[in-house]
């Protein structure tokens, strides 16, 4: 069913958007890429699966995941970004965070094995669905979509309206002048890593619930694809990451529906290259990329 | 110096816009063979933009630049350099991780125009004598093996000039070479510029210091808000009330 595929695409797209917003937040304040981000997202799935297996309710599992992944994000910032603050060091921090991701991946595979681990969901939850105009929508998927949208809206509001958000925007504009205004730049950067990683963790659990298992290769497949989506939407632009995620999710679902599934990955990367060449500020970025950052 | 009939460089109605902001507004003037032309104006008058357009770093929005009668408006930066148009940069831009000597040697046109052939050409060798002579004349020979990034401010300015000269240019734009220099350093710089003058067809000097520019220039072009507001001999130009208002009125005079 086409409508069902589109809804599936939107659900998947909202997860892409969550991960991509993490990349874009970090890029916004530091002008650097966090290559450990995909593996933190992957880890989220496993923490979620294990929490549920140990008897945690789904909301509790989500909370646990966001705490653990957020903490790990702080560690990534400390190990791979704190010392490499200068502009020239963007390669060093990218490679260092990449190596950090390798460690996370290996430790996950040590702890949970290399095979996917199934999540134990109550039967009632799994089959529950809504019928609308003759189309069935899974309740689980719709909840994932709903929570993802709420989280992103909350993030958007927090950055647009709160004083912490103002600090983040100030650091994104210029760390030097932000520190002149008495903003603790390091604290702001930590906050950004915390937020980005917690959101990635949520996306990890949501994916595990949606597909029914946690898998160790999603960090490198979906996690990296979200990086491309971030660039498509506009590097450092939250709204761009959101719209880019939904767009790619839907396009991908349509590609599978019409039998081009094999080409979806190639398509995303070629699309990213095209966007970076023709409109480096991204498809959805506001007029000035500097203004639109974080 | 007697100017020949054909100008070395002719700038006609040059216009440059940055996102609707007009940086150059119908600039026209000639640079005659043999002259040392002073280009002055308050900050933001468009002097550096003009040099950037003429040296091919920015494209012109409208207007033409011709060199010895041929249109060079659309040529890329490296081809302009090969024609003999050289420049220095207002904010010093040396190759900081290369040695002083390398900064000069790299400018050798015989090699940088044919980078791959330079590998196999018979008898190809660095013209060390010429490079060292050049360094001698800007008083940097002692520093020949120092990294350019470690030079003091005045030394770095002089090395920029030496590097620009090492390519054997016909026309040289010096973009505020005396900025931040003290009186003694400025006099040394003036001596350096004079000593190189015969080797070049023309020099354009952008400078704020009225004494220095009056002393060195044959002729002045005054810019304000992207337009040329006066040209002529230094004495006449500084007597022009429009210049006094636009330039001296806004800028604090250093001396």
């Amino acid at each position: 069913m086409l409508a069902e595929q589109i809804v599936n695409g939107i659900v998947m797209g909202s997860l892409y958007a969550l991960i991509a917003q993490g990349y874009t937040l970090v890029f916004g304040v530091l002008d650097k890429l966090n290559f450990a981000h995909g593996e933190i997202f992957m880890l989220g799935g496993y923490i979620g699966v294990s929490s549920v297996a140990l008897g945690a309710s789904i909301p509790l599992a989500l909370l646990l995941v966001m705490i653990v992944c957020g903490a790990l994000g702080l560690l990534v910032e400390f190990v791979s970004f704190r010392k490499f603050r200068s502009h020239d060091a963007h390669i060093t921090s990218a490679l260092s965070s990449f190596a950090f991701g390798l460690v996370v991946l290996d430790l996950v595979q040590k702890s949970w094995g290399t095979e996917p681990v199934a999540i134990e969901l109550p039967q009632t939850l799994r089959v529950a669905n809504l019928e609308f105009l003759g189309v069935h929508f899974s309740l689980v998927k719709l909840s994932i979509l709903g929570i993802a949208l709420v989280l992103m809206a909350a993030l958007h509001l927090a950055i647009a309206r709160t004083s912490l958000g103002r600090s983040i925007r100030a650091v994104a504009e210029s760390a030097t002048s932000a520190s002149l205004y008495g903003i603790n730049v390091t604290r702001v950067i930590q906050l950004v890593f915390l937020l980005a990683s917690a959101l990635a963790g949520f996306a990890g659990v949501a994916l595990a619930i949606r597909t029914g298992f946690a898998s160790s290769d999603v960090g490198f497949t979906l996690g990296i694809k979200a990086l491309a989506i971030m660039a498509i939407g506009g590097m450092g632009d939250l709204r761009g990451a959101f719209l880019g995620g939904l767009m790619i999710g839907v396009l991908e679902a349509l590609a599978f529906q019409w039998g081009f599934g094999q080409l979806a990955d190639t398509g995303v990367w070629l699309f990213m290259i095209f966007v970076l060449l023709v409109r480096p500020t991204g498809l959805f970025a506001a007029r000035s990329s500097k203004e639109a950052r974080a | 110096m007697i100017a020949k009939s054909e100008p070395l460089l002719a700038i006609r109605d040059l216009n440059k816009q940055f996102r609707g902001l007009t940086a150059l507004d119908g600039v026209s003037f000639d640079i005659a063979q043999g002259e040392l032309l002073g280009l002055i104006g308050p900050n933001g008058a468009g002097k550096s933009v003009l040099v950037n357009v003429v040296s091919g770093i920015y494209g012109a929005t409208a207007g033409t630049v011709s060199f010895l009668g041929s249109d060079i408006t659309r040529l890329p930066s490296y081809q302009l350099a090969r024609l003999g148009i050289a420049r220095t940069f207002q904010n010093i831009r040396l190759f900081g991780r290369m040695t002083v000597l390398e900064n000069v040697l790299v400018a050798d046109k015989r090699y940088l125009t044919r980078p791959f052939r330079s590998l196999f050409a018979k008898g190809a060798h660095d013209d060390l004598a010429a490079a060292e002579d050049l360094l001698e004349r800007v008083d940097l020979i002692e520093k020949r093996d120092a990294l350019a990034g470690t030079l003091a401010y005045g030394e770095a300015r002089r090395l920029e000039i030496a590097r620009a000269l090492a390519g054997g240019p016909r026309l040289l734009f010096l973009d505020e070479p005396a900025a931040g220099m003290n009186e003694r350093e400025m006099q040394e710089l003036a001596a350096v510029i004079r000593s190189f003058r015969p080797a070049l067809d023309a020099i354009v000097l952008i400078e704020h210091d009225v004494a220095l520019i009056s002393e060195l220039s044959d002729r002045l072009v005054v810019m304000d808000s992207g337009k040329v507001i006066a040209t002529g001999k230094p004495v006449d130009v500084f007597a022009d009330p429009r210049v006094v208002e636009a330039y001296l009125g806004v800028e604090e005079c250093d001396d």
Partner: protein, 277 residues
């Protein structure tokens, strides 16, 4: 066993040099895993399906990658810094994804049937490329490239055709990566698209960054250590990837400019000086 080490180290040195060659003109390429894949697949198709001799196939594959490298670099070089890095990441990812969808070369299952490469092919190539880079490091071309890498705007304003040099470096780097990939494929006997892609590309860049980006020895040392270090960790076999990852993190913290960060001046006086990034 020792043959495997020689082969792996040699291939990785060549790949590291292929990144170093592109870096000579100031661009950091994460596309070299893709160039290597093109080399491996093109040469494999030539030898297996058309019976072309290995060396010729490797050179032809190198030629294809050379053209591909220039073809993708021409538009890609419109971007700078992290944007260029992302574009090259995209190239590596697209090459892999494309190979996975081409049934003619086995798609996701991989491609086999080639053979005939020995470690000596690779050792010979390491010697040739190393000698060429050593000669280059003492030449005027190196000096011109250094100028481009330091400040391309100034280099252009001196008369250097920056784009031409950058394209040449991309082409040459792609060529070396592809020839290395050809020998690799004909030694390992079986290739799959997921061996290349982004992961391989990042590893290659790591060799160069950890070794040092300002001279040819850095890439050589970085690739050698990073290839053999996991073997030396046999005692830790179970923890190898974790220890390896931590080793990289620590090395970057301790020596962010690489193990051998110096640049050798091109004026013959081989005074070695520490160079900051």
């Amino acid at each position: 066993m020792i043959q495997d080490y020689v082969m792996q180290t040699g291939v990785n040195i060549l790949l590291a040099w292929s990144v170093y060659i592109i870096l000579l003109s100031g661009s950091l390429s994460f596309a070299n895993g893709g160039f290597m894949a093109i080399g491996a697949y093109v040469s494999a198709v030539l030898t297996v399906k058309f019976g072309v001799p290995l060396i010729l196939a490797a050179v032809l594959a190198g030629g294809v990658a050379f053209l591909f490298g220039i073809g993708v670099a021409f538009p890609a070089l419109r971007t700078r810094g992290l944007y260029l890095i992302l574009v090259t990441v995209g190239i590596a990812a697209s090459v892999r994804a494309m190979l996975e969808s081409i049934d003619y070369v086995g798609g996701i299952q991989g491609f086999s049937g080639m053979s005939g490469a020995s470690p000596w092919h690779v050792v010979a190539l390491v010697v040739i490329v190393g000698a060429a880079l050593w000669l280059l490091s003492r030449s005027r071309l190196q000096r011109i490239l250094d100028a481009v890498r330091e400040d391309e705007l100034v280099a252009a304003s001196m008369g250097i055709n920056v784009l031409y040099l950058k394209l040449a470096c991309f082409g040459a780097g792609a060529f070396i990566a592809a020839v290395a990939g050809s020998f690799y494929a004909h030694y390992i006997l079986f290739v799959r698209p997921d061996e290349f892609g982004i992961l391989a590309s990042v590893y290659i860049v790591l060799y160069v960054v950890l070794g040092g980006m300002n001279n040819l020895w850095g890439a050589l040392v970085g690739a050698t250590i990073m290839t053999l270090a996991p073997e030396l960790m046999r005692g830790l076999a179970q923890w190898r990837p974790t220890v390896f990852g931590l080793l990289i993190v620590v090395l970057l913290l301790v020596r962010p400019n690489g193990l051998l960060p110096f640049r050798i001046p091109t004026t013959g006086r081989a005074k070695r000086r520490a160079v900051k990034p």
